[in-house]
Amino acid sequence: MKWHVLRPLWLAIGLVVVILIARQFMVPDDFGVHGDSFTYNFHRLSNVQEWKEFPVKHLGHESCAECHEEKVTMLSASPHAAIECENCHGPAVGHPDDIELLPIERSREHCLRCHQSLEYPNNARSELPNIRNSTHKRRRECVKCHVPHDPREKP
């Protein structure tokens, strides 16, 4: 039988077969619906574990206290108690083995994040002890006069 439809039809069927065979090898075994919704739970299952194993970088002040207990004690008794060490010292991962000294954020801009007066009414920012950057000891580092670990003390 010579029918002009047959040749492209075989080609199309052949293509589908090739794709189906290739799919068997290329799609990971754990790819499928893992949950009750095809729309939302269609994925590669091992990716969940991969995200769980993503490296943690901020270790928290409990980790800092293992070596720097006196600093953590001083901080936790001060008005700055709620501030995490790593907010100013950077993420502690790899310290002290790989990174001996963590970079310390001492800039004026860093303190101004909370302590620059914006004069906003009924805003938590206005209730913090604040300064006007343009008039208060211009361009001096705040840490020259204020101790970040306990701002009530003088250096």
């Binding site: 994925h43 994040r113 805003n123 950057n133």
Partner: protein, 256 residues
Amino acid sequence: MSCSRRDFLKQAGGGTLASVLPVSAFTFLSTEEARAAVDNANVRWAFLVDTRKCVGCGLCVKACKTENEIPYDAPVTRTWVERYVITKDGQAHIDSPMGGRDGFIENVINGEEIDPENIDKAFFVPKLCNQCDNPPCVQVCPVGATYQTDDGVVLVDRSWCIGCGYCIMACPYGVRFFHPVHKVADKCNFCYHRITKGMNPACVDSCAFDARLIANLRDPDDPVTKIITTERVAVLKDEYGTKPHVFYIGLDENVR
């Protein structure tokens, strides 16, 4: 063969009933099985943002970027803080320079100096992925690279994503972006690597004002869950039907 109307109706009804009822309808599930069929997790992560407490220091954005290896100076971020200043003429001035990464230390919004005398109200609104129950970003993914885990977090499979950007377009909250290094879609995942280890997300730990909190909605003793269930909380763009799971206290009508 004769057939009365009554017999016909009886047999037709019985036949239809028998054909529509599959065998599985007659199996009885145990309580656990029934619960598993409906919902198999005892964890559902949610987030609580108290906009009244946020001072706009931006340390959450900084911590998020370093924790999640988001290029620090690239204009992309998984979480950001918006500043809203409503002046007396009713106009809303909104900005979020670099996602609020360096905080807000000037009274200048989009190049315009705002006179404090002229301000009616001003506040900061941290934003992050809402980990929706009906995530539109997941629906549109053509390859199954983004999905919802059984604890409610939406993740992106970096080895499977083809970078088409459909999800970035689909998210009504604009939380997704194209990762400049991995060349795939990226978004906040509540620091999945931390919350699954019993830690807080990096932004929650870095917040000195408790403006950001994480909750497990399935744990009735979770203090943050208690706040979400008993206080007056709101969500963003409720009308989209996405069922977002980032709850806000003190949300203003100007916030979109």
